[in-house]
């Protein structure tokens, strides 16, 4: 199929123009032994109908019920207009806006995105996106190392309550540059402990502190105390922030006396579907002083030759296509379309809409957790306030509970055993505004029945 429009007559004429007999002649500079004859491992072409039927079967083979899983990706309502507009060919099939005059749509939109993101985070500057939350954190670490001129240690302290997947990816990305990540262990409350506990680790000096808000367990850290502590140690503060939660919680720009220095996170909750993990996008904001250390694209407002307002890529000298080996990052393609959707999403939701979403999430999570706590043998872990996720300890292995609940149409949460086996049968449960009181009731019933079944089975 190949979506090729050439008719035999076209080919004849074009070959004639080139004065050759066959298309193969165009490959005559390739060493002949390298030419492939066939690709026996590939199947014959499907037409669109067959492909869609095949993909439909595949899609139907995935879980498709009520989702109470978060752990870094959250199911929120996405207004229908968001993707109807983001998927317009003009947004979806354009390239990076290098030719500014022919890309004012994307450029202005990203400028608006930057404005919204800085408003949301209370920060000075936002870039045009990075790949995802985890890799954005890695870039933030690299940026902190570049930006903190007072530090020579290349040591980064990371809250042990950070999403472990963020930690892994960040480690993979920054370690080749000799940067070390050290975690501050969490207390029993599933939050960082009192600062005094970490003075020893701090005493060797460190470049930056990474603070999640809320943390991986849904808990709300004492961001003010932590920020001021890090700043006292001349370290920078990197906040890892949920962009919906921040509508209820203090934004990173207002953490402590002077605010976080860099804020990153995953933009997925702002209009991106769960989508099996992506595309999402990483956002990154920083203080004005760090702008030249920013990785990724920045859109600036300027004027054209007639004085009209317009938008263009700016500070490109930071980027790989200009600065090459000395660039702030190698990033080129980013997550433009996801940003397009997020911008439309934020415009539609507005501050009042996002706040009401945050409130619904908070309320729903508290409703569910209270009801679960009242179940026999179910215990909630963690002492601090929490936003829309919380941890429960089950009397049996979460894996079994998950399977049983899935058969009842509910994905009950994330099995913390993967990264935190010490927590013992712990499940991370999330409630967003999408889960109605009826859904919550259904969860409670399903779980109590599931536990009865499993405990019954065990006791036999």
């Amino acid at each position: 199929m190949s979506f090729i429009p050439h008719t035999p007559e076209d080919v004849r004429q074009m070959l004639g123009e080139l004065d050759i007999q066959s298309i193969d002649a165009l490959f005559d500079e390739v060493p002949p032994e390298l030419l492939v004859r066939d690709l026996p491992g590939l199947a014959p072409a499907m037409n669109e109908m067959e492909m869609l039927q095949h993909m439909g079967d595949r899609a139907a083979a995935n879980f498709n019920g009520l989702c109470f899983m978060g752990a870094g990706a959250y199911e929120h309502h996405i207004p229908s207009a968001v993707w109807d507009i983001a998927a317009r060919g003009e947004f979806m099939t354009a390239y990076t806006p290098y030719q500014a005059e022919a890309s004012q749509g994307t450029l202005q939109l990203v400028y608006e995105y930057q404005s919204m993101m800085t408003a949301l985070m209370g920060m000075d500057v936002s870039n045009a996106s990075l790949y995802d939350g985890a890799s954005a954190l890695a870039e933030a670490v690299l940026m902190a190392v570049r930006g903190n001129r007072k530090d020579k240690t290349r040591r980064i302290l990371v809250a042990g309550t950070l999403n472990p997947r963020y930690l892994r990816a960040t480690r993979a990305i920054v370690e080749p540059q000799g940067i070390t990540l050290e975690t501050l262990p969490a207390s029993d409350s599933l939050c960082l402990a009192n600062i005094s506990k970490y003075e020893k680790q701090a005493s060797e000096g460190f470049c930056a502190l990474v603070i999640p808000m809320p943390n991986f367990f849904g808990q709300i850290e004492d961001v003010h105390g932590l920020t001021d502590w890090a700043h006292r140690h001349q370290a920078l503060v990197i906040g890892v922030v949920n962009p919906v939660a921040v509508n209820l919680l203090v934004p990173p720009g207002q953490w402590g006396q002077t605010g976080a220095d860099i804020a990153v996170g995953d933009g997925q909750p702002l209009g991106l579907p769960l989508a099996s993990g992506g595309p999402y996008f990483g956002f990154m904001c920083c203080r004005q002083a760090l702008v030249r250390q920013m990785p990724g694209r920045l859109i600036g407002k300027t004027v054209d030759s007639e004085g009209r307002e317009g938008y263009a890529l700016t500070l490109q000298a930071r980027e790989q296509h200009i600065r090459r080996a000395k660039a702030t990052s190698n990033i080129c393609t980013n997550q433009g379309l996801a940003v397009t959707a997020a911008t439309i999403h934020m415009a539609l939701m507005g501050a009042s809409g996002l706040q009401s979403v945050a409130q619904s999430c908070f309320a729903g999570a508290h409703q569910l957790s209270q009801q679960l706590e009242s179940l026999p043998d179910v215990e909630r872990l963690g002492g601090a306030a929490y936003f829309h996720e919380f941890v429960i300890r089950l009397p049996v292995a979460p894996e079994k509970v998950i399977d049983e609940m899935v058969s009842r149409g509910i994905l009950p949460g994330y099995d913390l055993g993967e990264f935190f086996p010490d927590l013992g049968n712990a499940l991370l449960v999330c409630v967003t505004e999408m889960r109605s009181p009826a859904d919550i009731a259904q969860y409670v019933t399903a779980l109590s029945e599931t536990l009865k079944n499993l405990e019954g089975a065990q006791s036999c």
Partner: protein
Amino acid sequence: MLIFENGATGRSAAAQTASSTQVDTHSIPDALLRKQPPALAEVSELQVVRHYTRLSRKNFSIDTHFYPLGSCTMKYNPRGAHKAASLPGFAGLHPLTPARHSQGFLACLFDLQEILREVTGMAAVSLAPMAGAQGEFAGIAMIRAYHLARNDLERNEIIVPTAAHGTNPATATMCGYKVREIPVLADGDVDVEALREAVGPKTAGLMLTNPSTCGVFERKILEIARIVHEAGGLLYYDGANLNAILGKVRPGDMGFDVMHMNLHKTFATPHGGGGPGSGPVAVNERLAPYLPTPLVKKTEAGYAWVTEQELPGSIGPMSAFAGNAGIMLRAYAYALMLGREGMPRVAEFATLNANYLAKRLVDAGYRLAYPERRASHEFIVTLSREAKEWGTTAMDFAKRLLDFGYHAPTTYFPLLVPECFLIEPTETETREELDGFIEAMARIREEAAEKPDWVKSAPYTMPVSRLDDVKAARELDLRYQK
């Protein structure tokens, strides 16, 4: 007008706001609560729809314009692939859903890994990287891991030709390497002698794309591979140009050890005004132990994620989840529609279009950077003569093309060719479309000769004329403030 300027205090897209129940948040310490709502736009739903619909119309795009942007492979992005990835069973799936409850999704990833293995001639594939540059990072990190594992600790240089894309040297730096550049000869091939001199015990690897960004096939590729391998280095293939050889020539057969692909180029997923992409890496047996996670395997019991335990040498994950899943699904759908016969046709017709276009532009008076060479899927026109004689630069030609309804080719890349246009028509454009572009180019050349100032002040029909980039950088304005 910015979206914010459409706003009015208290206005909202009310249908999107949850029924307002006052929520008791006293469990959160007051100091940790947000006090002031963010200054987002306050606009109605119609305003949002109208604003962004109108904005979209200020873009050029594949769906509206011929877009011969060299190195970017701006070809048709099948709507069917978009639909497949948008099916509720994929769009609604949580990435941490246990594998046993997401078999359909895993099956797609596995099949895509296999397809990519086949077309690259490599031993194993990981879909983890989220774009080309991250694929490069993963590839170079694997080279690094390989040398480290062999305790070969002196190798701290990555060699790149001067024609390389900026991400190549930037990636080498990110992986802690020094970059060593080698020149490209007048015929577009890498300077093999310079390479010979450059390689040595410090050589970790060479990054190359073939066909190169000069738009020609590196004829001495087998010799190059030998030189690098003999020096103990590994060969990295920048797969951005895979469209040129898809199904015709395989990087694995050319001697590359590791490569990335740009699914958003070769596999026709939309560029989205800057992204997202997906940059899977493929490796030969040597590097397979270092692949980034996650990976999907097929077992008796079904599809499963390869665990970290199974792959202890892995350079690690590149993102929180499995990368840009939706792009993989689109690429997979596209690959299914191409099939066995469709793959090589891509390369063949991309090459036919490029060579035809090059030939006709020469007829129209333009000069090729490598006139003696076959074009690959792209080629370079140099406008240095036009710049010297009439003062009309590649930039001027580019802007004027917009007025004719054609997106400009890539300008000033690769940097080694002065005043260059890197032109990539792709296989999905008709001859008629190419002819229209040729005619426009011919007209502009006449204009440049007759009234160069006219060309130098283009464009005239865009929403804005040329923008003041200096002001943009000097008086940084990166966000709206009331």
